[in-house]
Amino acid sequence: MSDVVLETPSPRDIMYMSRGDEVDAFRPLFTGDIYAKRNAGDDFEQIVIVLQHPCALRVRGVELVREILAARISVSGKPRSDWADESIRVMPVPDLFQDGAHYAADFVDVVLIPSSELVSKWERVAILSELGVNLLTQRWVHHNSRVVIKTVTYNEQTAGPFHEADLEAEWCMMLDGQEPQGESAEFDFHEWIRRPWSPGVPMSRQSMLDDPQKRASVRRAMNDEVRARRSVETSRDSFKDS
């Protein structure tokens, strides 16, 4: 176990799924999301990164917990080439705004932010990739426990929730159109993903996402479901027009 070290993304950009205006508004709040709050002068006065594990972010499936645990992010020097040499108290956040400036999340400067405020009054400025989330979890767990677990193991553990977030974003985008239209599509998705796969297979679609052998089947089923729902919507719209 002694040779397991805190890992480094290479190239470092692979820790991000999206930044700035490429952030997908339909994607549900997830571990590693970076939010910023603007002041009256329209500058970012606070930047935070969500620390809670995906499984600890929601209750009853779709409802966010009342408060979200996050770490404050501030400007930092260029990250070391080997992140094992970085302070164990921080998570490097390099080139966050793609302007060459580097940041770091400070694990000893954590805050609880009401979830309703975070999603409505803060701006999501970056979403971490699966590797990014695993790197954050690796450093956060190490900071709190001095245990280093390889990101490949975190990857196995978080893959199901990560794929679910992908599917939810896709579902909402396909059924809501250009902009999120409130929570109805989100609720519909959660109702659908929690249903048993079929009458003879009690395992839910959500549990099937844990298994790499079964994920593709869930995606195909969701594609069919979305197409069926869109077709009903189209027929309803043409009926209204006539």
């Binding site: 997908d24 975190y154 553990q157």
Partner: protein, 210 residues
């Protein structure tokens, strides 16, 4: 590749067994000959592998040229309908997820990226049709070897589609493919200290091994 039977006629005549060499000498000669055969087989394997890889590449290029004539949305839809995650498609093409989403909305794609996208679909179709892999989207997502966090998606993302074909057609073992992918795979992609398991509440969790 037959062992030289003239071996039996070498050596002098002793007793009633005319033409047979002393057993020590026979064993030594046989060992030399088998060693020589193994060397020839190894060279032949190297030559045929190189030729085989060239035919893979030529075939892939041909399929890629054909597929690149199709509409980009059509190529993306085919992959998505097979059950591939957009994230995995983006990784295999070598672009970001937002870039892929832009193409889905009809935004312009460069010629180079169009060819890369066509190549991904060509690889998938070859594995499905020529190597008889049922449900290719699942196959590409499953680790090559249990407990090793490397999938065929990783091989394509690393531009090593030859390894995908060798694996799908059983021309190489999972260990052989992993060695050719990254000789340090045992250190990088295997966790000997921790493992995941499904806990009593049905949630996948992590615990120390053993």
């Amino acid at each position: 590749m037959r062992v030289d039977t003239s071996l039996q006629q070498t050596g002098g005549s002793t007793g009633g067994y005319v033409g047979l060499a002393p057993i020590e000498q026979t064993r030594s000669t046989l060992s030399d000959q088998l060693g020589s055969i193994r060397t020839r087989v190894r060279h032949l394997d190297g030559d045929t592998r190189a030729l085989h890889e060239k035919t893979y590449t030529d075939d892939l290029d041909q399929r890629c040229r054909e597929l690149s004539k199709a509409n980009v949305t059509e190529l993306l839809t085919k992959l998505n309908d097979l059950g591939f995650a957009w994230r995995d498609i983006a990784r295999m093409v070598g672009v970001s997820v937002p870039a892929l989403q832009k193409w889905r909305r009809g935004e312009k794609i460069t010629g180079e990226n169009r060819l890369k996208l066509a190549k991904v679909l060509a690889i998938v179709e070859k594995v499905e049709n020529d190597m008889m892999v049922v449900d290719p989207a699942s196959w590409f997502e499953i680790p090559i070897k249990p407990g090793v966090n490397v999938t065929p998606v990783d091989l394509v993302s690393a531009n090593k589609s030859i390894l995908v074909f060798d694996l799908a057609s059983d021309h190489d073992t999972p260990d052989g493919v992993l060695d050719r992918f990254d000789v340090t795979w045992r250190e990088k992609f295997v966790d000997t200290a921790f493992e995941t398991f499904v806990a009593d509440d049905g949630i996948r969790s992590i615990r120390p091994r053993g």
